[in-house]
Symmetry: C2
Subunit: 343 residues, 2 copies
């Protein structure tokens, strides 16, 4: 509470007891007489006593808060993950502090320092597409800060990770385009350094090969998710369109890229899926509203959040350091819409 917060001391004074007795009574210690306990607990309830979490944090050297770093909360995927995290964190008495990196490695570092200085008990993070220097993260981790990665994970750090099955998701998406009769399928994806990018590329390539297509390096375009993303997408599409054998379909391998490609095609009056096929990763809820509704690969964002926080709390609350780390891989969902392609 604020101003006149009631403390253990107030209770002690009012009841003519010592603070330690009150503290013990409140924590239901076995060494306090039932009578005293009753008295204390009743009075505490009456005056609506709430233990001061700050004092508790100072004493116990933990803050019962966990930090989350994502690039952007306005992104559906991330806000759904946060919802998942929150749904569990709250019931376990933890609060979450959200920081946005805005796809900037610099801001990410600042966020990290900020959260560390606020002594969060643990961290859940999806790194930026820019991040290449993991030293601070590693340092934090080695100093004992529990960390769980999700989505854009860092393989260089051995801890729990939660992702969706990127290879399979991308394989399915690409296969769907093939099944629809597209012959020249391009991939617009994120920065090469990212692990999930590699996986998504692998799924795309595997699907092509399995169906007798050759992988054309010119068909693979990387865009990083900077503030310039729309311009990068435009560049990528221009390059694709400029090829001798122009692609007839695009697989966009992230939420932002899907929206971006769609935006561009709309602006250029390109008909989807008649003129160009399009499929993309997306957790947005608008994809069924566009015309025709877009076929998407959807990640189980809420579950990803829940699993991430479960694993994190497990690390935080276990007495001795966790040694065997898991990488949880969840299935994505291919949501097929407007599946009939009118050629």
């Amino acid at each position: 509470m604020k101003f006149e917060a009631v403390t253990i001391k107030d209770i002690a004074k009012a009841l003519g007891l010592s603070t330690s007795t009150v503290s013990r009574a409140l924590r239901d210690s076995y060494e306090i007489s039932p009578e005293t306990k009753r008295l204390v607990i009743e009075y505490a309830q009456k005056i609506n006593y709430q233990p001061n979490p700050i004092a508790l944090s100072l004493k116990e050297r933990k803050s019962r808060s966990i930090g989350i770093i994502v690039c952007e909360i306005a992104n559906s995927f991330f806000s759904q993950v946060i919802n998942g995290i929150e749904s569990i964190a709250n019931t376990r008495g933890y609060n979450i502090i959200i920081a946005q990196s805005k796809e900037s490695a610099e801001r990410e570092l600042a966020d990290l320092q900020f959260l560390a200085s606020r002594s969060v008990d643990g961290l859940i993070i999806s790194v930026t597409t820019e991040t290449t220097d993991y030293s601070f993260l590693k340092d934090l981790y080695q100093r004992g800060l529990p960390i769980v990665f999700f989505d854009r994970i860092v393989n260089e750090i051995a801890t729990h990770k939660v992702i969706s099955d990127n290879v399979k998701g991308s394989y399915d998406a690409t296969k769907h385009l093939i099944d629809q009769g597209y012959k020249n399928i391009a991939l617009v994806t994120s920065s090469e350094g990212l692990f999930i990018t590699k996986e998504r590329m692998a799924g795309y390539q595997a699907a092509l090969k399995d169906h007798g297509f050759v992988v054309n390096a010119d068909y693979i375009k990387h865009c990083n998710h900077s503030g310039m993303i729309q311009a990068e997408i435009e560049d990528a599409v221009n390059q694709l369109w400029g090829l001798r054998k122009k692609p007839d379909a695009i697989f966009a391998a992230s939420d932002k890229l899907t929206t971006g490609v769609l935006r561009l095609l709309k602006a250029r009056k390109v008909k989807v899926p008649q003129q160009v096929g399009l499929i993309g990763y997306s957790n947005a809820d608008y994809t069924e509203l566009i015309d025709p509704p877009l076929t998407i690969v959807k990640q189980p964002a809420f579950e990803i959040g829940q699993i991430a926080i479960e694993l994190l709390l497990q690390m935080i609350e276990s007495k001795r350091p966790v040694t065997d780390f898991e990488t949880r891989v969840l299935n994505t969902e291919l949501i097929i819409r407007a599946s009939t392609r009118s050629k």
Copy 2:
């Protein structure tokens, strides 16, 4: 930091000084010799000393964190407001704790208690459409917790408020439909209790009257933003469609309602704007992607957040209680798309 966090005591020991000297040197107190200051500051930097914010909070009886309660962070409007809040809070050394009420008054109360118990220094809130009991909020406020309302404000509590000009925004939206030639314009809006609902209704009614239309009570439908919102919208639209004089246009007075109405019309293969005109409040970024792009009323969400936090920090940091409260009213933007109605 975590484990081996370096404290003022460590510095003192290493330099053969007392903790108070170190503390003062770090805070650049005038009563410390330049030489000692230099020594302390250099050493502190070298070992990367970070003051423990928890200890600081306990001492200064404030947490340098502010609470935010919104119904849903996945809502573009709210995530943009949060971005605005965060942009300022971070630079002023405050962190934000976000809680979601999910349109439930019960969860809102729990959030409130949670944040109060975490001793936030201030609160920024947009209440649920369900909220009718303001007693806890009022209580908190009277105990000295600075509160700023935005969007769904509570007029019963005299403090700063930030909203957009709902009357004008709705007036403009309605007028736009009239200008497009629609004659029977329905309003789908939120719960009647909400102040912003009243304002949006007022704008809608004023526009009709000013243009020589009569306000038809049957054309006004209230839906509250519960988990059943889509069903409520369906009900509302069914009722509208069942009227003797069926409406030829709908003004949806919130983000969620706009999406919901659109979803329904799409599902029923109703052509917008040919068969039914549609205009709605929206801060989503997908409205230009639908076919044809939707005309919307957009709120200056980021600015709303920035102003809210500015006002809050002003309350928090002012020595004596603020007495003259402002209600900041910002202009909305009418973004006209697909303006030519092909009748």
